[in-house]
Homo-oligomer: 143 residues x 2
């Protein structure tokens, strides 16, 4: 469940001069049932949303308006994904640490998630996340 | 299944100075499983999205960015709902004719739907919709 399982998902677009339409169906465009939809808005330009990872939850992240970066880390490698199109989703599997930053003013970040909210599913500490992966905790002076 | 079953749904907000977060869970904040998510974007200011109704599909409509109006009609009465907050959804049950208009430039309209796409579930003709409700078709000179 490393970064090699992360991928951009090109979503369908119905083009129309009155506006474009994109749709996402559970178990079709994403490999899970959509149990929860959440979104970040009223985000100040340049804001940063902090790190966490999920034991089981999978998700698809979409820039509904504006742009931001998603930084993903599988405990061994880290990669930055720039999001600025409503018709590209970023699929994030379980056990990936993620942060979101570099928000443009007025951007909207939508996330489709495979599970209802469950605090027990979260890693909120990066060291615990590494231990959960079976990796040694990073020495304090490198953390 | 008339207009009396339409309602605004006040969605939860987690306030944060780095941006606000709203979440919607299937069978909790909406009375259905979320099988499909779709959204309208790149909408020119003042655009109008045309009428249809669904035999079975229920939906929640949210203004993710900007504003627009949703005009709902149950065959006997019509009502206009102004949408301009990310934390209010409009619940639309089955057998309600709907149009969306008065889009602000750059607005994003998100819809959570209870079913996958099925063209057979649509009424695209208002007269057929009225007949489906057991109402007489509107005389041509009043239509």
């Amino acid at each position: 469940m490393g970064l090699e399982n992360v991928r951009y998902v090109e979503l369908p677009i119905i083009h129309d001069r009155r506006g474009n339409l994109t749709f996402i169906e559970g178990n079709k465009h994403v490999p899970f049932d959509i149990r929860r939809v959440y979104y970040l808005y009223d985000v100040p330009g340049g804001a940063h949303r902090g790190g966490h990872a999920h034991r089981q939850l999978e998700q698809l992240i979409v820039a509904m308006s504006g742009s931001f970066d998603v930084v993903l880390d599988d405990g061994q490698r880290s990669r930055r994904f720039h999001m600025n199109r409503s018709f590209y989703g970023l699929y994030v599997p379980r056990m990936i640490w993620r942060e979101i930053d570099n928000f443009s003013s007025g951007s909207v970040c939508m996330v489709l998630a495979s599970e209802h909210y469950d605090e027990a599913d979260y890693y909120r500490d990066y060291q615990e996340f590494r231990v959960g992966l079976g990796l040694p905790a990073v020495p304090e002076d490198e953390a």
